[in-house]
Amino acid sequence: IPIPLEDSHEFTEEDLQFAERYLRTHYDLRPNPADVMRKSANTLASKLREMQAFFGLEVTGKLNEETYELMQQPRCGVPDVGE
């Protein structure tokens, strides 16, 4: 998951897994075929951008504290975008 340099020590492995699960549930992030690292990185960044745009956050494509905080808020389980 792309993370801003200044936040790089902020997140544990568990946090990153939570964030990935969130994007999969609500932003239709597809599981990553192991051999396509480059593409998956873009998909993650683009899904983060989609979420940040949806909630009116600064669109960086990186997992910063503000974005992670919003992921933790209680919410509806229906996706925000996608089929």
């Binding site: 949806f54 909630f55 009116g56 933790q72 209680p74 919410r75 509806c76 389980g77 229906v78």
Partner: protein
């Protein structure tokens, strides 16, 4: 507002629902009532009718479940995912599931079953999530009070695009989410809070960080559930690190998010006349240590150190601050200036030279 792909909707207006099981957090009657009230939110503004059945297959099957509960969209334990629902269609279509690892309640103690159900039934009828933070269909849960719920305008627009309007709307005045660049924008209150600026309008406030141009719109109750849905005035006393908020004859003191023990108090306990009904605006002037309170066409001066109202007040606003009009909606201080808001205008008043130096649009506070 948004729709599901292919704008899924029911092709009939008479829909059935069935409650398959119950949560232990509430009595059966409370659950029945919450769901019935949640359906009414939508039937009030459309031609849709909802009938409860107690056996067989209903259009909208409602159930409580935990973790993996049979639809391959598992819940996740307490908080996080609260519920989900499927768009209109056969079988699972329209069904609504509630996570029973949550604590369901009919007030702010737990998650309001009524509010979450009203949101989920919006999905059951064909609405997707809205980006409007004031909309019921916004994906994040916000407690908006135990009574007096009125469906926000954004949701009404969406559902009526699918099903048209009904003929029995008991609350036709549906709250709109304020637009910060609206040329006619007027404000309710403004205060600093630990370096941020909070700008209040209806049941919202914008958080304006000094370094950021983009203001974040937040529901008042998502920060302070105990506060009313709209306030009259607010100011920060930076020395005490307290923010005071006013509504009618009441005043709340906040330290950050926490309301100070013993509040709300009555405004006359600060030295205002007993018959005073409300405060329109308030501002703490750091240089003098005084807080100015504006009500109607008059204003008072309060000595924060001695915690008493200064003698010789109230005075007429027009006499002390000629040119700003005879009432004030909101006011804040910055760099030796007072900014008085009156309708869609703000007056930049120099404390030093005691005169207005600029007149601006209210919405210029957001760089519009």
């Amino acid at each position: 507002y948004n729709f599901f792909p292919r704008k899924l909707k029911w092709s009939k207006t008479n829909l059935t629902y069935r409650i398959m099981n119950y949560t232990p957090d509430l009595s059966r009657a409370e659950v029945d009532r919450a769901f019935k009230k949640a359906f009414k939110v939508w039937s009030d503004v459309t031609p849709l009718n909802f009938t409860r059945i107690r056996s067989g297959i209903a259009d909208i099957m409602i159930s409580f479940g935990t973790k993996e509960h049979g639809d391959f969209y598992p819940f996740d334990g307490p908080s996080g995912l609260l519920a989900h629902a499927f768009p209109p269609g056969p079988d699972y279509g329209g069904d609504a599931h509630f996570d029973d690892d949550e604590t369901w309640s009919d007030d702010s103690r737990g998650y309001s079953l009524f509010l979450v159900a009203a949101h989920e039934f919006g999905h059951s009828l064909g609405l997707e999530h809205s980006r409007d933070p004031g909309a019921l269909m916004f994906p994040i849960y916000t407690y908006t009070g135990k009574t007096g719920f009125v469906l926000p305008d954004d949701d009404v627009q969406g559902i009526q695009e699918l099903y048209g309007a009904g003929d029995r709307d008991p609350n036709p005045k549906h709250p709109k989410t304020p637009e910060k660049c609206d040329a006619e924008l007027s404000l309710d209150a403004i205060t600093e809070l630990r370096g941020e600026m909070l700008i209040f309008k209806d049941r919202f406030f914008w958080r304006l960080h000094p370094q950021m141009v983009e203001a974040e719109l937040v529901l008042l109750k998502s920060f302070w559930p105990e506060l009313p849905n709209k306030i009259d005035a607010a100011y920060e006393n930076p020395i005490k690190d307290l923010v005071f908020m006013f509504k009618g004859k009441k005043v709340w003191a906040m330290n950050g998010y926490d309301i100070i023990e013993g509040f709300p108090k009555k405004i006359y306990e600060m030295g205002f006349p007993k018959q005073m009904k409300r405060i329109d605006a308030a501002v703490h002037v750091k240089d003098t240590g005084r807080t100015l309170f504006f009500s109607g066409n008059k204003f008072w001066s309060y000595d924060e150190e001695k915690e008493v109202m200064e003698t010789g007040y109230p005075r007429l606003i027009e006499e002390e601050f000629p040119g700003i009009g005879d009432r004030v909606d909101a006011v804040y201080q910055r760099n030796g200036y007072l900014y008085f808001f009156n309708g869609s205008l703000q007056f930049e008043y120099s404390i030093w030279s005691n005169r207005i130096v600029r007149v601006l649009h209210t919405n210029s506070i957001f760089w519009c």
